[in-house]
């Protein structure tokens, strides 16, 4: 067993290279893939940076995801911690069997087959957004004009939520995820989204349609509060995530022109390129954090019941013991094994719609915007270092008009 390391003070977040995990994580992972960490509130827990240990923790039945048991690994408190979210239906914050009951009501709607059937709609949505970008002419902010609207339109359609209501929930979900905003404001934003979803749930109850929420009404198993909680989770998880992958992924491809060229020449590489971008970029960069519900040994270390363990997804996805040359973006890499969508029972429910959104989205950007390039110096692109999900705040781009 390795020597006992000195405890870290909170999760390292400073990046010297914007496409690499935070500075210090690589050295830590090589020496102590599980390392003691003192959380900013004083809690003594652990940070996991190794790939195999990350998967072990995330798939272990001895760890809970209930927010009242969790400590924030960052200075900024989490809204869930300041005032635990007890919203019914928000099953990300639940453990089995409550989690299992709710998730299983939805999983039939997110199968690989169902999502293949959704692809023509994703293609149409992507094509419309590209048409609009082309019509307005360069330059364009790809975040506002493409990366955010595409997944928002898709999730609204899946849920059966009116896209015209998007301004409210987009602003509020941005506020909720912005760690620079005071926690009271973030809680207020969360409550506004909750109220919006409750109104939507009432409406679906009165007139259920074919969307996901409507079909949950038909199932007759959920009350309005649960329905609203499920809708909240889907809406939140369904648009910011993919939006950040589309924008940051495009930035990464523009900064690795050989990889972009490969994708233009060999479109069949796109499915594995999406997995590689998920691995390389690892936009979930502040956790997840879990709480041990029993004494557990992880890599020989005793994690006592009640201790929190934070898993660094970027560090795990750049583990050289699992991936050759992990800090190299390589779209020819076989795509499986990364933990970009998580692992275990909470692994991303929306990964099957996210994949075609990214595949079709990147493909359209590379093909339909000839000579796509940054419109500003790469150093001037504002990074989302302080946001719950990593990415770019804006991506000003230009292209050749033909």
């Amino acid at each position: 067993m390795a020597d006992t390391p000195r405890p870290l003070r909170g999760l390292p977040m400073r990046r010297d290279d914007r496409f690499a995990p935070a500075t210090g994580l690589a050295e830590l992972r090589d020496r102590h893939p599980i390392s003691p960490m003192i959380y900013p509130d004083g809690h003594r827990g652990w940070l996991v940076t190794g790939h195999d240990l990350a998967r072990e923790v995330l798939s272990s039945p001895h760890f809970s995801n209930r927010p009242e048991l969790l400590h924030s690994p960052l200075d900024a408190p989490l809204p869930t911690q300041e005032r635990p979210q007890t919203q019914p239906g928000f099953f990300l914050n639940m453990d089995p069997p409550d989690h299992t009951r709710l998730r299983r009501m939805l999983t039939g709607q997110f199968t690989v087959k169902r999502m293949r059937a959704l692809e023509p709609r994703v293609e149409a949505i992507v094509a419309e957004r590209i048409d609009a970008v082309l019509a307005a002419g360069p330059p364009a902010d790809l975040v506002a004009e493409f990366a955010l609207p595409v997944p928002s339109l898709v999730i609204c359609e899946l849920l059966g939520v009116d896209y015209d209501d998007r301004d409210g929930f987009q602003t509020d979900s941005h506020t909720l995820m912005d760690l620079r905003v005071p926690v009271e404001e973030r809680i207020a934003a969360r409550e506004r989204i909750g109220a919006f979803m409750l109104r939507t749930a009432h409406r679906k109850r009165g007139r259920p349609d074919d969307g996901l929420l409507g079909s949950l009404v038909h199932s007759g198993e959920l009350d309005d509060a649960e329905l609203a909680g499920v809708g909240f989770l889907m809406l939140l998880a369904g648009h910011e995530t993919t939006a950040n992958m589309l924008a940051l992924g495009t930035f990464a491809l523009l900064e690795h022109p050989d990889q972009a060229e490969l994708l233009r020449a060999r479109p069949a590489l796109m499915p594995q390129a999406v997995e590689e971008l998920m691995r390389f970029l690892s936009i979930v960069h502040m956790g997840p954090t879990r709480c041990a519900t029993a004494d557990v040994r992880i890599d020989g270390r005793l994690v006592t019941a009640g201790s929190n363990v934070t898993v660094s997804v970027p560090a795990a996805n750049h583990d050289p013991r699992r991936f050759d040359g992990p800090d190299r973006l390589d779209v020819t890499r076989p795509g499986t094994g990364h933990v970009g969508f998580g692992h275990g029972v909470h692994q991303c429910l929306g990964q099957q719609p996210a994949r075609p959104e990214m595949r079709i989205g990147f493909d359209a950007l590379l093909r339909r915007l000839p000579g796509l390039a940054l419109a500003v110096d790469a150093k001037a692109v504002p990074m989302r270092s302080d946001m719950g999900l990593y990415g770019v705040h804006e991506l000003p781009v230009t292209w050749r008009q033909e």
Binding site: R104, T107, F110, T111, V112, H343, Q347, L349
Partner: protein
Amino acid sequence: MRIRVDRQMCVSAGMCALTVPELFDQDDVDGRVLVSDVTPAEEYHDRVERAVDSCPSGALRLDRATV
């Protein structure tokens, strides 16, 4: 190679159906795994191993000794 399936553990992530659609499918109602052949032909072995490795729930396991 024999594929062992525990459908109780399945969380319907769909990694298997994505990786080897020729062998794995998902139930229409709850998305849980369906396997058409638990002793797959050799041509599938590499991809089956990747599918099993990617399974987030441990619902899929491999018994390599069995022919």
